[in-house]
Amino acid sequence: MKKSHILAIAVIALAIGIIMSAAGDASVYVSFREARERAADGNLTKVHVVGRLPRDGRKNILGLEYNPTLDPNYFAFTLVDTNRIAQRVIYFNPKPQDFDKSEQVVITGAMRNDVFVADKILLKCPSKYVEKDIQGATASVN
């Protein structure tokens, strides 16, 4: 066998390995129900959950818990996933600034006991154009 053939086989083997590793490490978007089932099965791999923050009639977010003077690294909130299942989430970091404004929240992490421990929070804020319209309208007319 020529060296080039050996090299080619090695490269193909490594490429397959790389694909397997990507497939193995890739996470999934799930609902809270599935996240709970996974935890119940002893599967502690981290998942992505997409949800919204529950608000009262005056648009205030319900169930935010952040008291930096007691513990700056403890932030808890409730997230409602797309199937309307609410779940308590804990994030051992300071509350992201302007968490209150966000429309959609993506969290990664896993269920531990009865709470979802998040290690990353991605916020999706309302489209910037919405606010711009209002700003533009208040400017004077030439």
Binding site: A22, S27, V30, L70, L122
Partner: protein
């Protein structure tokens, strides 16, 4: 007045540029068709050149129109309104130009016009076929900013669209179509940074440069000239590798300085989208060098050069089509160009792959089998390793694309990017680094000598021994500092050290012969140093703000949770790892004053960009503003002064991490401040602050009736009413003649210093006005409520608020300077190789390809290599 002329001129120029590119592509194609390389149909060539020049002129006109619109604040245009504002300095107006998708396409188009003209000037022989590809690419790119509706399909998004045509539904547009906003919505303040002025042009020049070798390769396949394209294309490829590499690292440095994820690289898809083609481009350069020297790896060079360009197109598709969605924080907003981008990508994939398949069998292959003692074998393996590294990043970064594709064909997929991206990429990229360092060292030594077992072991001995000694020393030092070093890290450390030393030994030898030969070696040293810098700064970054003493009130999972942030009360000192740290107030950036200015010296006015000086603003002995002067400020950024004192060495320094009001990015954004030492950086950023935009919650006013000389406790601070005095004309008071104004003079004794508090009581036309005074440091506000002249008693109202605090994260990053200095060295190496290859390409006549090995007969130098 609504000025539609300049926009119409710009839009017309875009259309001219598009049509001219189409004509140029067709006529260059006709000029080169059925002709051997170097010969052209003169009349077609004349038309082709003319239309490319016209295309270039039209592009310059587009650029000028857009810049004039931004520069003259013509907010009737959507682009100026949404990317610029009245307060923006000129150098940032340049950044607004490419903040939007259209402008960045324009930048790219502009660079390719420049490169096209350079090829017409310098590569005459290749002009027609190469420029046919160039003009073809320009055709696709200009179509992206065309903004024309053809058969009910919108083609491209024009930067010259009027605000009223963009926001057709807005009520203020419907009531008055000629409405022009007074101010724009501004450039994202995150991008108001000098790196953002030069980083995008660098990156887009790098993107544009990948087109040059691609066009040469395609022209070679087309014309059946399979070998001659390499020599003129190689300097361009090296230039591309240099510019793209530097551009990536500029972006990394910007992220390190400006964003707060704690480092320079986040494996964000947008970053990866540039990293992937760069790796493949570097591999392609190695393939081309192999062909130049040993007439091997020609097919590899074709494949890699073509792949690089196609990956740039794929990157464009990823970042601009909206397919990344949630996966990236900083891709462009979706302009609905996905269809056009896919057509662009597909057209070139089909063209390139088709040509390659058609000509594959005709591309010459070297028959000789490479042995272990051929440096070519190891260079080739090194290039393969680079490609595998690119492949991993590509496979993972494309996960959102798989979802989109599966969704398109009707299969629901819920795949997400890995939850721990750093771990996922590191476990492969670290080994890529190991092999790159190792192979670059071995191959560089073998490249310059005739190899057999003996000569190889001779020349590897010295760097090998030094490497082992150095690695042992470092491992001992790491253990001495009570840090762990895993086996993988030891491997990377050893190979990277070997990469530095082996290349260094070769560079030292080569410099004696001819400096210009050592470009490759210098670049390799740079890369190996970068690897060492990454290993040290990322592998041993140490969070010094670990919350060890803080009250932990959540007991749920106390065992394995990192608590990385500390709360610092204003003016109280906290202990943090080896440092005493205190937060001592909020500051603003005042243009014209070199350092930040304490917010307490500034009285904010209704115009948010202006403030009045409450007292002299001076630094050192120089007075910049007197009390009462109007001061211009940059209101978005608040800087928090944090003092560090090293408890061991007593060394003290001050950092000003920043919080920025940034509506586009969702509100309040923190940027770090970095103290650089030779051996490490101290990097710290705000994690949370009481929102500077919100009114404070003041307690109910408590009234105190006092006489001069009385003492009281205000918010737990001891205070004396020293006097009642006529009020001076101070900032913001606006006293008029006939006003009666008096003020209380309190001294409040705080933790670190005492404060004068002057609440003012004004009588104007029998109306009473009260101007309270606030001490932000102490969370205290005093107002002068009433005067009882008969008893000489004065009533003061006192309210308090929660004391100001910040939540801080601080990280120590050891030896990060190795990364930056390695980057510079890599750039220098690329530059040296570029100069050498360009000289060879211009020499025109191929040098004889016989080589005299260095070791055997060092006197007979000169080979045409590396």
């Amino acid at each position: 007045m609504l000025n539609t002329f300049i926009g119409d001129l710009g839009h017309l120029s875009v259309i001219v540029a598009f049509v001219a590119a189409t004509v140029a592509a067709y006529s260059y194609y006709m000029a080169a068709r059925n002709q051997p390389l170097g010969e052209t149909d003169a009349s077609w060539l004349r038309i082709a050149r003319g239309s490319f020049f016209l295309h270039g002129a039209a592009v310059v006109s587009v650029v000028s129109c857009l810049f004039v619109i931004i520069y003259t604040h013509r907010y009737e245009y959507y682009y100026a309104w949404s990317h610029s504002s009245n307060h923006l300095p000129v150098y940032y107006m340049i950044s607004c130009f490419w903040e939007g998708q259209e402008g960045s396409f324009l930048l790219w188009i502009f660079w390719q016009v420049c490169l096209g003209l350079a090829i017409i000037a310098f590569n005459k022989r290749w002009e027609a076929p190469v420029m046919a590809i160039f003009a073809g690419v320009q055709l696709f790119l200009t179509s992206m900013i065309l903004g024309v509706v053809l058969l009910n399909v919108k083609v491209g998004s024009s930067p010259f669209i009027l605000l009223r045509d963009f926001l057709t539904d807005a009520p203020f547009i419907q009531s008055n179509p000629n409405f022009i906003p007074k101010d724009g919505t501004g450039l994202n303040p995150l991008l108001q940074n000098y790196w953002m002025v030069i980083h995008p042009p660098t990156l887009f020049l790098g993107f544009a440069l990948t087109l040059v070798p691609f066009a040469f390769a395609i022209a070679g396949l087309w014309k059946g000239e399979f070998t001659k394209w390499v020599k003129p294309a190689l300097p361009w490829a090296l230039f591309g590798g240099l510019v793209l590499g530097v551009g990536i690292m500029m972006g990394a440095y910007w992220a390190y300085e400006t964003l707060n994820f704690g480092g320079y690289w986040n494996w964000d898809p947008v970053e990866n989208a540039v990293y992937i083609p760069w790796l493949v481009l570097v591999a392609a350069i190695h393939g081309m060098v192999l062909w130049q020297r040993s007439k091997t790896a020609l097919r590899t060079s074709f494949v890699l050069v073509i792949t690089t360009f196609l990956l740039v197109l794929y990157a464009t598709f990823l970042t601009r089509s909206g397919v990344l969605g949630n996966a990236s924080v900083h891709s462009f907003t979706d302009l609905g160009l996905s269809g056009q981008l896919i057509i662009y990508l597909a057209a070139f994939v089909l063209l390139a792959v088709g040509l390659l398949v058609w000509r594959w069998k005709e591309i010459p292959v070297s028959e000789k089998e490479l042995t272990t003692y051929n440096s070519e074998l190891w260079v080739f393996i090194g290039a393969t390793v680079l490609c595998l590294g690119a492949f991993q990043v590509l496979v993972t970064t494309s996960i959102p694309v798989y979802n989109a594709f599966l969704g398109f064909i009707g299969i629901k997929s819920n795949l997400a990017l890995p939850a721990d991206q750093i771990a996922h990429y590191t476990k492969i990229q670290l080994w890529i680094g190991v092999f790159v360092a190792l192979l670059s060292g071995i191959a560089q030594i073998m490249w310059w000598q005739k190899n057999d077992k003996e000569s190889l072991s001779n020349s590897l001995t010295v760097p090998g021994i030094l490497t082992l000694l150095g690695a042992a020393l470092v491992i001992l030092l790491v253990q001495y500092n009570k840090l762990q070093m895993s086996a993988v890290y030891i491997v990377l450390l050893t190979t990277a050290l070997f990469g530095v030393l082996a290349n260094l030994s070769m560079v030292l030898t080569l410099i004696k012969r001819k400096v210009s030969l050592s470009g490759g070696g210098v670049a390799h040293i740079g890369i190996a140093l970068m690897l060492l810098g990454i290993l040290a700064s990322a592998g041993y970054s140490n969070i010094i703000s670990k919350n060890s003493s803080g009250l932990v009130y959540s007991k749920e999972f106390p065992e394995d949770i990192n608590r990385d942030n500390v709360l610092l009360w204003r003016n109280e000192t906290a202990r943090m790892d080896g440092y005493d740290v205190s937060y001592t107030g909020q500051y603003f950036d005042v243009p014209g004053v070199p350092n930040y200015v304490n917010k307490e010296l500034l009285f904010r006015t209704d115009d948010e960009f202006k403030a009045l000086a409450r007292a002299e603003i001076k630094q050192g002995d120089k007075v910049y503003f007197k009390a009462g002067d109007t001061v211009e400020i940059l209101p978005e950024n608040t800087y928090y002064r944090v003092e560090y004192k090293n408890k061991e060495s007593g060394e003290a320094f001050t950092l000003f991490p920043r919080a920025q009001v940034n509506e586009e990015m969702g509100g309040l954004l923190a940027s770090p401040d970095i103290k650089q030492f030779a051996s490490h950086d101290i990097y710290s950023h705000i994690s949370s602050v009481p929102d500077p935009r919100k009114e404070k919650d003041w307690s109910e006013v408590k009234e105190h009736v006092l006489s001069v000389g009385d003492t009281i406790f205000l918010n737990d601070y001891f205070a004396v009413l020293r006097a009642i005095e006529p009020a001076h004309e101070t900032a913001g008071l606006g006293l008029k003649q006939g006003d009666l104004a008096i003020q209380g003079d309190f001294v409040v004794f705080g933790e670190k210093k005492s404060y004068h508090v002057h609440p003012v009581f004004v009588v104007r036309n029998r109306l009473i006005g009260r101007v309270p005074d606030e001490v932000e440091d102490l969370g205290l506000r005093v107002s002068f409520v009433n005067v009882d002249p008969s008893n000489k008693k004065f009533t003061f109202g006192v309210s308090t608020t929660q004391k100001d605090y910040i939540i801080l994260k601080a990280v120590e990053k050891p030896f990060i300077n190795l990364l930056w200095s390695g980057t510079l060295l890599m750039a220098v190496g690329f530059g040296m190789a570029l100069v050498k290859r360009r000289r060879e390409a211009r020499a025109g006549v191929a040098l004889p390809n016989t080589s005299t090995p260095l070791k055997a007969q060092p006197s007979k130098a000169s080979r045409q290599v590396a």
